[in-house]
Symmetry: C2
Subunit: 583 residues, 2 copies
């Protein structure tokens, strides 16, 4: 085994490419990585309750999503609420925060109240609140229902706007009791009986597609609230159980370069190679698979539209590491691929594996990282702690987590996932006729976009005159999204949405160089509601810098694995009649 030598002497050889770092610093949210922290505490204590965790940490959260409060409607709603509170307090001659002699509830009592029909109860610091009446006044809309029947803390942690005295004041108005000690304990010890008990604690907002291995996506309604997705709600796509990796004994092996097998410790990786930061969107090949299932059943997790997220990633450049270990023209003359092997293994001991083309791995433009940080913190366990590959512009499946080995090779990875899984086929190909050798392994992904607001089946009021439509758009291969077209009449007429490369009120990131647009764009548009419309069929389609467009419909791109689902995204909403206008 060859160890890294002359580490100090090496440093000046490498150039730190600071452009991306500059971008990322301005958009890293101050609260972004908790599940790494969470799970490391969890491991050290042998079990760590959510309730206690959130109680400890909520005051430290510093967010910047003040935009939620910026709309006139929200301000009016709060004013209305405040009037109500003051009236109630003066008429009852009681302080509004009075808490004495309140009933004690079980956790079951709370979880039963999880909808507007049953009433909406939530807990906060061990106390129970019935917020049913407040839901309609909530400036963030019905997102508040995500917390219905459970704890408020994890949701408030996502939106800094709640960290204000008057929010607690409002909440106190709805207090109806306290959680009994058993309920509190249960909330804290959730998950400990699970056979996957070594897995990290996850954010309760995640919509779980599979528990073992863990696969989950955030609700679409909150996905586009942050330009940089907080790590806790960044979609999770695990193929195998999450391995526990001791950073002290961790070694990254590198094969296929002159001099035999090399081995690198975590601290060597961090200290001997320049730290490079990029903002990059990862997307699962199966994002939006559920739409393909509506055409004809496919094999795979039934992902909605949120198996895609955006983060900043920091680490050593793969190019620098390979060059250090002797990569050069004589290797390039033979090798064509760089294989990655994870430390996650199945019961037979087979590790997760994937590979990427050599030129992506070694080119200056490729920006491939051996990342040890996500959103400015250590990688969370679900995202590959301590080291993962981040291959910007390339399908999530090649961004191997818990990276154990790199092999420079003449061949692609022989893994199931490279050879017989993540590939696209014609709609006419079925499981009887498929020849996996006939299609290339998915690398760059095609142009994609989806609508995150409004949600399918919801309503808008015609009195609002306009409907606000929001979503995300991204393309693989570093191709920048240059335009998003939105229609509310099913694709007959089109409007051009406004694109964002940062959170509202923040400076947008500077335009990336051609071919290096690794991060998504968020988009938004207000479209006038046509007179007498009773239903809107909202459609979006994006265009990338190569002027690639999304296909119109799902059926002609249907494929047996349900990957590459990037047809126009369509959402139908009802238009409520303009009752005010008729008065």
């Amino acid at each position: 085994m060859q160890n890294l030598k002359n580490c100090q002497g090496l440093a000046p050889v490498f150039l730190i490419r600071s452009q991306s770092s500059r971008i990322s610093k301005s958009i890293i949210p101050s609260l972004s990585v908790w599940d790494g922290h969470l799970s490391s505490r969890w491991r050290s204590t042998g079990g760590h309750g959510r309730q206690k965790y959130f109680s400890d940490r909520v005051p430290k959260f510093r967010f910047a999503l003040a935009g939620l409060l910026a709309g006139t409607g929200a301000v009016l709603a709060y004013r209305h609420h405040q009037g109500k509170v003051e009236w109630a307090a003066s008429s009852a001659q009681l302080p509004v925060t009075q808490t004495s002699a309140l009933p004690v509830y079980t956790l079951e009592d709370v979880t039963k109240h999880c909808s507007l029909d049953s009433g909406v109860w939530v807990t906060y610091k061990g106390e129970v609140y019935d917020i049913t009446e407040f839901v309609a006044m909530h400036p963030g809309g019905d997102k508040i229902l995500l917390a219905a029947g459970g704890a408020l803390e994890p949701y408030w942690a996502l939106y800094a706007v709640h960290e204000q005295d008057h929010v607690l004041e409002i909440l106190s108005e709805y207090k109806i009791g306290v959680l009994n000690p058993e309920g509190l304990k249960k909330q804290e010890s959730a998950n400990t009986s699970d056979p996957y008990s070594a897995e990290p604690t996850r954010h309760p907002a995640l919509q779980i597609n599979s528990l073992k291995p863990f696969n989950a996506e955030p609700p679409a309604s909150i996905l586009s609230d942050n330009y940089i997705t907080p790590s806790v709600i960044f979609f999770k796509r695990n193929h195998l159980p999450v391995p526990r990796v001791d950073p002290e004994t961790y070694r990254l092996e590198i094969e296929g370069l002159p001099g035999g097998v090399a081995s690198l410790t975590l601290s060597e990786l961090k200290s001997c190679f320049p730290k490079h930061t990029i903002t990059a969107t990862l997307q699962c090949a199966g994002n939006r698979r559920s739409e393909m299932n509506t055409v004809k059943q496919v094999k795979g997790l039934n992902w909605g539209i949120a198996a895609i997220s955006n983060a900043t990633w920091s680490g050593a450049r793969l190019r620098d590491v390979l060059l250090h270990y002797g990569f050069g023209p004589e290797v390039a003359a033979k090798a064509q691929h760089v294989q990655f092997e994870g430390l996650d293994r199945d019961v037979t001991g087979t590790a997760y594996g994937a590979s990427i083309p050599l030129n992506k791995a070694v080119s200056e433009e490729g920006d491939v990282l051996l990342a040890y940080e996500m959103n400015g913190e250590d990688l969370p366990p679900d995202h590959g702690y301590p080291v993962r590959v981040v291959v910007p512009g390339i399908v999530g499946a090649r961004n191997v987590k818990w990276l154990g080995k790199i092999v420079v090779s003449e061949e692609e990875s022989k893994s199931h996932w490279q050879q017989n899984d993540y590939k696209g086929f014609s709609p006419g190909t079925d499981w009887d006729t498929v020849d996996f050798k006939s299609a290339p392994a998915i690398q760059e992904l095609p142009i994609q976009s989806a609508i995150t607001h409004p949600a399918e089946g919801t309503s808008v009021d015609s009195s609002d005159r306009e409907v606000t439509v929001k979503g995300y758009a991204w393309s693989g291969g570093g191709r920048e999204v240059v335009r998003v077209d939105v229609s509310i009449d099913g694709g007959t007429t089109w409007h051009v949405a406004e694109l964002r490369t940062g959170d509202k009120g923040q400076h947008p990131a500077p335009s990336p160089p051609p071919g290096k647009a690794w991060a998504w764009k968020l988009w938004e548009i207000d479209i006038p509601i046509p007179h007498r419309a009773r239903e809107l069929e909202i459609v979006c389609k994006a265009v990338d810098s190569s002027y690639n467009m999304q296909p119109d419909t799902v059926a002609p791109i249907w494929n047996l694995r349900g990957v590459l689902s990037n047809a126009w995204h369509r959402v139908k909403v009802k238009v409520n009649e303009d009752l005010k206008g008729e008065k």
Copy 2:
């Protein structure tokens, strides 16, 4: 002005990348560039007739398109014909080549006979033939009708199969007379009264979209007959009159690099930089614009599906030239674009201009050439003699012809064509609302494919059981075409076509490295004709290595300039009843 120094000493510094050259040598057709030759002779004589030109040169044509004769049907047709000829000869007791006492015709007589209804007459070496009866027996099918009413030579020159004694023997059977001297002279002097008389002579098969400037495409029916498009029928897209450039006084100026303005002669360009060869497809941004016109009128030439062609290009790498003249990190730190200026100018003296991103121009992977050869010969005048830029994977408009100047710059070209022309917009954008600054200049083009056979409105026989569908597919940015799906039921069910990277019977080109698939693929498939089908709606759609797909329909990608028209291509054909089956 700085001139190239130490030319001999420089040579060993550059590596010749021979992979592409190896490919190209095997597929360069032996007859590929005539219009260069044609026009140079034309210039020297002050006018050179087509008829004389073809008479002189036909015997020298050496083609390899023997595949046209390979089918059993073709062989049978010829046998049938031969039997008929022998019978006629024996019964008439006359030699089949007898030519005495034949009438004299005018050119007008010939041109009137240009269809099966009027009779099909052609001329060959000043003699007139009525080939009406032969059309049905022609092994190349009704392509023979392209020559109807005119000279055969230019068409025979495209297909080497005609260069056989028995073909002339067959033709002689149909001789009906000779052209009168005026007709011959007229054929020879066509074009001399044209105000664009300095323009090169063009192949008569070209379908002209505009004469001044000259813009033309080959008939779709012959486009996919050659993997390497013969230069004479390679689509022509000129923005301005073709400049006459004297190779002796030609100078290429290079600005924006340390040391001021450099100047390079043609012989320096050829001798001081390694010659590099690539096979690359060029496509006009307006290819298939005519389909957008069926949705709503757009501005631009009404291109069919053949404003795309494939050729081999040889020249110096732009990267090598820029590095030689001092390009380095300090230039890269400021500059972002490489501008090109043509020697073609409008009446105000404004030259054609365009630019490409700097990283495409200088990267090893970019393969940008300062090309002086096309298909193994000097560039033809219509394609930029003596030097053009070939930017593989990038829209034709940036492949500046008759290259006069290169400027490394912080800015894009200020030319009309870069700033206010070749850009894509939303279908909702019209000439009243368009803001050209809001869209990026087209560089890489999106995935494209089209059906070259059968043609719209033609018929197939149900007795044939199968319909053969052929076409081309290509994507920009070096993205390889990985699959073409074909449907004959309007897109309900799909079949996977066979792809080719060479002519039939030739070794296919080796797979290009990822991101360097500059050349198109030809495709073909035989699909069973459904029982009782009366019409087929044939559709094709291609997929590239980033799994980008073509959009389903034209209207949602309609744009005011009619560029980027890459929806599924659709062709309707009738199915003739199975009369044989009913006997």
